[in-house]
């Protein structure tokens, strides 16, 4: 095991929080600090680095329990504002997916569809305190005789509302381009033909998993800021992977780790959780996710102080390779600094860039988490179990 000059434990850091002496900065602020003071001194001075992101995260949804009715119903078909939820969980438990479209939505029958209302909107409406129409049907049993039920409900009326997202906070992501000669509508937005524009996601140097590339501090049980509430990393996210192309700095050069996250919807707020409608693609949910990274040693400081210049993403053709798997898996690489400049050089052309992850809001998330930690309202937690692929570092 490598010997580090600087070594901090979660217990020490949390004691500093309780004593009002903790030093917290954001993942953007740390870049300059590390450059000025060097990794060791910066690791001595700074205890926690906060990361943040605010981006559409399609693999999201909520477990809702609407309480027993009188007479009781074993609901198998459930709708919230005509958006179907999955009702085959016990009697009154259901799961509402963020990307569900309202029943009767024309979808892409006249392409590109508008997808004006779906699961993401129901979740947003509930969090905003709005009334939502619940409708359900059951096949009837001796113990659950009722066949139909309808009621207007608010978030407070629901017995339980747990946001549980199978895959959030992707560690790196594709840069999307369209090499074909017709416009395409994707979850990476509208991509104009013949490389007329590219789109990208993640908050780059503010992005949680980018700053802990080998999952040394982020694991199962890590307390996080989720949609305004204190939530937790519940599990590795679906599609989580770690044997990926990495740069010399250890940073994945393609999509890698992911997190399954959980939090109480009743503690969330519309400032940090918003429904989105992608023309021609569907409905989704944008979420604020903030993760504090304790600076456990100077190696951690090396990771948390990486900047957009050090982070690289692959350019993927969403007209061919992404949908069909044919052709080259990636057409090139660009840094997040280049992407954020507004245009990239690709095949001798200047291609304008647009992002779906709001850097301005990612900053807000990291700043807000910094304030919460300083005030003692948020205590970083040591994971109970590492994510697959985690390297030694957890104390």
């Amino acid at each position: 095991m490598k010997t580090h000059r600087v070594k901090k434990t979660y217990r020490e850091i949390n004691e500093k929080i309780r004593a009002g002496k903790v030093v917290v900065v954001t993942a953007e602020e740390i870049i300059d600090i590390a450059e000025r003071h060097g990794f060791e001194e910066a690791a001595e001075r700074v205890d926690i680095v906060t990361t943040g992101t605010f981006s559409p995260m399609c693999s999201s949804g909520a477990f809702l329990n609407f309480g027993h009715t009188s007479p009781k119903i074993k609901a198998t078909k459930v709708w919230f504002n005509d958006v179907p939820a999955y009702g085959y969980i016990a009697a009154v438990d259901c799961y509402l997916g963020a990307t569900a479209a309202a029943e009767g939505d024309p979808l892409n029958s006249i392409h590109p569809g508008e997808f004006n209302y779906g699961g993401g909107h129901v979740i947003q409406d509930l969090v905003a305190g709005k009334m939502v129409k619940l409708r359900c049907e059951g096949y009837g049993t001796d113990c659950y005789p009722s066949l139909k039920f309808e009621k207007n409900v608010t978030l407070q009326d629901l017995r339980d509302a747990v946001l549980f997202n199978p895959r959030n906070a992707y560690q790196n992501y594709n840069v999307a381009i369209n090499m074909s000669d017709r416009i395409i509508y994707t979850y990476m937005g509208v991509l104009r033909p013949r490389m007329a524009n590219v789109t990208y996601a993640t908050s780059g140097q503010l992005s949680p998993l980018f700053k802990d590339p080998y999952f040394k501090t982020i694991g199962i049980g890590t307390r996080i800021f989720l949609g305004g509430a204190q939530g937790y990393v519940a599990w590795p996210g679906t599609q989580h992977s770690f044997n990926v192309l990495r740069g010399e700095n250890g940073i994945p050069r393609e999509g890698a780790g992911t997190l399954a996250v959980v939090g109480n919807m009743k503690e969330m707020s519309p400032q940090w959780l918003r429904a989105v409608s992608y023309t021609g693609y569907g409905v989704s949910l944008s979420l604020a996710v903030g993760v504090p990274i304790p600076v456990i040693d100077e190696d951690m400081m090396r990771s948390v102080s990486l900047s957009d210049e050090d982070l690289v993403a692959p350019i993927v053709d969403y007209s061919r390779y992404y949908p069909t798997g044919e052709g080259e898996d990636q057409l090139g690489e660009v840094t997040y600094a280049q992407l954020r400049s507004g245009s990239i050089e690709f095949r001798n052309r200047k291609v304008p860039t647009g992002c779906f992850s709001s850097y301005a809001k990612a900053r807000e998330v990291a700043d807000h988490l910094k304030t919460l930690i300083r005030s003692g309202a948020f205590l970083p937690s040591q994971p109970v179990s590492p994510l697959p692929g985690a390297k030694e570092g957890l104390l």
Binding site: F54, G189, V276, G354
Partner: protein
């Protein structure tokens, strides 16, 4: 049904500079074009007469685009799409701003904004 190459006629017969900002044209269906016309004023009026006779409905651009600040999250997806640069990112705050003076209501941004922070009002 319009059976003439109207854009060609505007240029050749009325000596107008035609800048097509947006066009939705399908054979056999109703199409729309948002164009910027430059030329002598009387030639423009003559051109409008020609268009109306040819069965083309001409309306001055009276659509107003509104950027709803409370819905916008400054993601920047709209910035590269706008042909006139009406959306700009502040390089310090990373907030997106909208300059309605630059906007020509071509509607390209409508499809791109996933937060539906852009609305068009017809007058």
């Amino acid at each position: 049904m319009v059976e003439e190459p109207i854009t060609y006629r505007l240029i050749k017969d009325y000596d107008l500079m035609v800048n097509i900002l947006r066009a939705t044209i399908d054979p056999g269906k109703q199409g729309t074009m948002v164009v910027e016309l430059s030329g002598e004023e009387n030639r423009i009026s003559q051109a409008f007469n020609y268009l109306e006779k040819a069965g083309v409905n001409v309306e001055p651009l009276s659509r107003e685009i509104q950027h709803l600040g409370e819905r916008c999250t400054s993601c920047t997806a709209c910035v590269p799409i706008c042909p006139t640069g009406a959306f700009e990112v502040d390089r310090n705050s990373w907030h997106v701003s909208f300059d309605s003076e630059k906007c020509v209501a071509c509607l390209s941004c409508l499809d791109v904004c996933i937060y539906r922070a852009i609305e068009v009002s017809l007058q």
